[in-house]
Symmetry: C2
């Protein structure tokens, strides 16, 4: 190791990725887009291939005390499918690499795989390989995904023009509030192992945390309606963070409106119960795995009646900055306070 020592926490996840990516030059003509989007883009001749990877680590991304292994398997596939969806692509194949400690029985791993198979069926993706090895501590799930997209349909984080309409799917903040409920129930259980979990009133938000569903339905519908977004990203780290990514990559500013933000009633009520500002949950809660995209104004009429696509704002000139306009008409600067998986303990 070299003499100088910079702590990883000093850079954070995005900082580290940026530093490592420095000096990486692509050399193959088939590499259309390398590091820096939801998936890499590969020229496959008549179409583009898409390649992405996500790793889930026990104790960082999931807690097996409340995460059933079947749900975890489903989620592991779903979050990778979401990366392909964010490129406007269709998932085709995944590899699954597992690091396993002897805490796990064959039956436990089969339960994990059952969830993966269910997700593979739901998203029409084939499990085609991977690796299985021992782990000295917790469970490691590393998945790579390959997908395809027509060359004239691919969506990058870049591409938004000024005055494009900003769209978000589904509702936001639910997965974050579901996590708060699960953490509270865990603490209750640790204090009193006879306590029964009280989850009946939180089923929707808990499900959003445990079993997110990648929005391939939206991708198929955009194709049906003849809409190709000008830019797109999936919402994994929180809406505010993704708005900033989309804006920075496209060279535009973003303006969103509080009264347009989509949240579910259970999310709202649970946030109030937890003394969390519902807007904070919506803006900064992670793991929604919804889609954020921009469309040209002329495409608005094609989507305006869609129940699950919400028109939350618009792009603007870069120098106008990134703002949330509150219900009272105030402008609040958008800041990323999403998940940072390099908060290393």
């Amino acid at each position: 190791m070299s003499e100088k020592r910079t702590e990883l926490s000093a850079l954070g996840e995005f900082g580290l990725i940026g530093r490592l990516a420095e000096g990486i030059k692509t050399q193959n003509e088939t590499t259309i887009k390398g590091i820096g989007d939801d998936a890499a883009v590969i020229d496959a001749g008549n179409h583009f291939g898409l390649l992405a990877a996500d790793m889930l680590m026990e104790g960082i991304h999931f807690d097996l005390s409340y995460m059933p292994l079947q749900h975890l398997g489903y989620k592991a596939i779903s979050v990778n499918v979401s990366d392909i969806a964010a490129m406007n692509g269709k998932p085709e194949q995944v590899t699954v690499s597992l690091g396993l400690s002897n805490r796990f029985s064959v039956e436990a791993i089969e339960a994990l795989y059952e969830g993966m198979k269910a997700a593979a069926k739901a998203f029409s993706v084939d499990i085609v390989g991977g690796d299985t090895t021992a782990s000295q501590s917790g469970l490691v799930i590393s998945i790579s995904i390959y997908g395809t997209v027509e060359k004239d349909k691919v969506c990058y984080r870049k591409g938004a023009g000024i005055n494009d309409i900003l769209c978000a799917t589904g509702d936001l903040g639910a997965a974050f509030m579901g996590l708060q409920v699960l953490e509270r129930e865990k603490q209750t259980f640790l204090a009193n192992p006879n306590a029964q979990p009280q989850l009946d009133d939180y089923q929707y938000i808990v499900q959003r945390q445990l079993k997110p569903i990648a929005r391939m339905d939206i991708i198929h519908e955009l194709a049906e309606f003849g809409v190709v977004p000008t830019s797109m990203i999936d919402i994994s780290d929180g809406l505010a963070s993704e708005c900033l990514h989309l804006g920075a990559n496209s060279g535009v500013g973003i303006q969103i409106y509080e009264d347009k933000l989509p949240f579910d009633r259970q999310t709202y009520e649970t946030a109030v119960e937890f003394n969390i500002d519902p807007i904070t949950a919506t803006l900064n809660g992670g793991e929604d795995y919804e889609l954020l995209f921009t469309i040209k104004q002329e495409d608005y009429v094609k989507l305006e009646k869609h129940e699950d696509i919400h028109f939350i704002g618009h792009t603007q000139a870069l120098e106008k900055g990134n703002f949330l306009v509150t219900k009272s008409g105030n402008q609040v600067a958008l800041t990323a306070q999403g998940w940072n998986h390099l908060n290393i303990k």
Copy 2:
């Protein structure tokens, strides 16, 4: 978790993979070959795509007390390239997912990346993405690789006919003996931290362990000589184990000859020094990352003068079994005693 508990060690790595693969059906027309070869094969229109993944775990696959991070980075890419080589393909893109604990500094991860970039350059492969996250235990390196191959040039583990010639590249057993030397020096160092490592006499085999080089040179030469192997696999778990895989997948028996097995003099001498039968190191030592393949007899003349391709045996009818013929003419049954990364501690 279910009530029945079967320990992972009861199945082993190949047994577990087999059990998990049961019931996995592929559904996409583009999936030409799923689980069960060195890489999955994807129909990309004018050519085949190849997709593979390998995960390296600290404490299982590498020991940072003697593995320099730059070498580790190089090796992590190289072993994945080897999977593409084994399909007779050309590597194009890789994703790199890292699990990091706070033991590592930014400079340490940069050293790891330096090795990866060097390998990426050497093998003409682009690093196009991945994931970076915290790890509660050691370093986790999970890589996926995408490559391409002409449709009429792809090589599977299946495909060998009876009386094909069995070829192995390079020399075998060196990486295994290199590991023994490194382990011995580690023990010496632990007993006496002032001891200087004595590696001068073992440079070749230590290098083979620390920095294996995927045999893309052989793949390019096979193309130049106009030879398409009838079957191929890379030698990662030991020659005997790979012979059995190739034979089982092709539905043939394998006969190899002791006096044809390629080993390096340093490997031989070190094995003798360690009281290890050199044949055992050659047959069962892992991590050589050489290639094992079969060719039709008529192709022999095209390769016979190649210095680094060795004709070690031939295929035969399945019912004749799998044997090593010793120098004294005895037949010894081939058994797999290669690495089992599910030997969970």
